[in-house]
């Protein structure tokens, strides 16, 4: 699996392990933090590390998108969503024993699935690193939009439908006319 990770390139290796370590520590903070805002900030760090990995893989455009959409968007959305339901100050109450057991079971199941999936899949990384595109933005555009050169035109159009569905879903879920005036002072 370490084909893209050229062992001769020390900088690359150091960068990889720094990012990996940071993201693991931050991920641990995400799940253990008692205050939700702390967890959100730690999540932002994890996602920034993700962008770092994309950069190591030479996909700088994807790294930019990761920062723009995930770090600058999704985490903010999570923060707003948390503030909407309770408040940022809220400290999570310790869950009951039954929920703990359920959580343990489901997370173990997910871990097992992930491990099996990762070990069963052959990642064709070598072929990707062999033909590194010069301008990633253009390469991504070609893959998405050019129907001639093996582009994914139909999935691209379906994305817009997916986004449309999420717009409608968001409105339906979030707009409850009965609670219209709550907190209108802000």
């Amino acid at each position: 699996m370490d084909i893209t990770l050229n062992p001769a390139d020390l900088t690359h290796t150091i960068a990889f392990y720094t990012l990996a370590l940071t993201s693991i520590v931050a991920a641990l903070i995400v799940v253990t933090a008692k205050r939700i805002f702390r967890a959100a900030v730690a999540l932002a760090v994890v996602l920034i590390c993700g962008a770092g990995f994309y950069i190591l893989l030479n996909y700088d455009f994807i790294a930019g998108v990761q920062l723009l959409v995930y770090v600058g968007g999704i985490v903010i959305l999570i923060v707003f969503a948390v503030m909407l339901t309770s408040s940022l100050e809220s400290i999570e109450e310790p869950p009951s024993l039954g929920r703990k057991a359920l959580g343990l079971f489901s997370s173990l199941a997910f871990l097992a699935t992930a491990v099996i999936a990762f070990s069963e899949t052959k990642f064709p990384l070598s072929s990707i690193s062999a033909e590194q595109p010069k301008d990633v933005a253009k390469a991504v555009g070609r893959k998405l939009l050019d129907y001639g050169a093996g582009g994914y035109v139909l999935p691209f159009e379906v994305i817009s439908l997916l986004l449309l569905a999420s717009v409608i879903g968001a409105i339906v879920v979030a707009r409850n006319p009965k609670r219209k005036n709550e907190g209108s002072a802000t």
């Binding site: 805002f37 900030v41 455009f61 930019g64 723009l68 990633v136 933005a137």
Partner: protein, 336 residues
Amino acid sequence: MDYLQFALISLIKVVTIVGVVLTGCAYMTYAERRIVALFQQRVGPNLAGPFGLLQPMADAIKMIFKEDIRPAAAEGWFYNLAPVITFIPALLTFTVIPFGDTVTVFGIETKLILSDMNIGVLFFFAVTSLSVYGILLAGWSSGSKYSLMGGLRASAQMISYEVAYGLSLVGVLLLAQTLSLQELVHQQQGFWGMYVWKQPIGFMVFFICAVAETNRSPFDLAEAESELVAGFHTEYSSMRFGTFFIGEYAAMIGVGAIATTIFFGGWQSPFEFLDFIPPVLWFAIKVSGFMFFYIWMRATLPRFRYDQLMNFGWKMLFPIALLNTMLTAGIRLWLK
């Protein structure tokens, strides 16, 4: 070139740029006070040094000597972190801005751009979207109602205008076919080659959004003093407040620099007979123009109301930017 030498050169460049930007911030505050004073038929600060030119230094020293208050309700770590997080994205913009072409200093050939990446435009937006964090963190960690409301408002405002902000540049990208800022500058030869003439609507939307993104008047609702005291930095005092302040001004200069690079030909001289002026100076002149415009707007326009602000962003700028994009694409196709 080996890494060590490169790192050293980069460090020198970074320190130079940061120095120039910080000085720019300091004199921006001076210029702002003097120019706004002129607009209002006042004198403005004129006592510290000749024409009051030492006023920024006096302000900085004063701010350092002020008491550093950390409210009891503040969330320690994050409270300290928030100004730093606001400061860094503001400076990061300058890493992708070209200040000139390649130059040779002391026999070493170096580019007058810190990081000549081919996704410069996207990097700029990614960094802009990160600046929400500082404000949200400050608002939340202060433990004050005004701070929280100010932080919320500011972040909602920033993300609302970010969409039109991103869209306004697609028109230029359609014409330029590149995301690299240095290449964008190279494409804009001469006065009529500037992209502002080909993308006037895009530029206007871009600049309005930029003002909103930097929380400047008339979009300075985050710190509408009549209702929110000072918004997200209500609880910050002394140099902590100063750091927010510098961050805000650095972000303004950064926006001016990006607008210059994308729409006004960056460091290129617009007229051939003025070619003797060095590129870096051209760049500075163009950015100063934007800075003056910022001040002019502040002196002229009243503040928006919050619902007006949101409506303007979502119901005016966003559709206009989208229409501009599709129109540009259509015309481009038709002309070909």
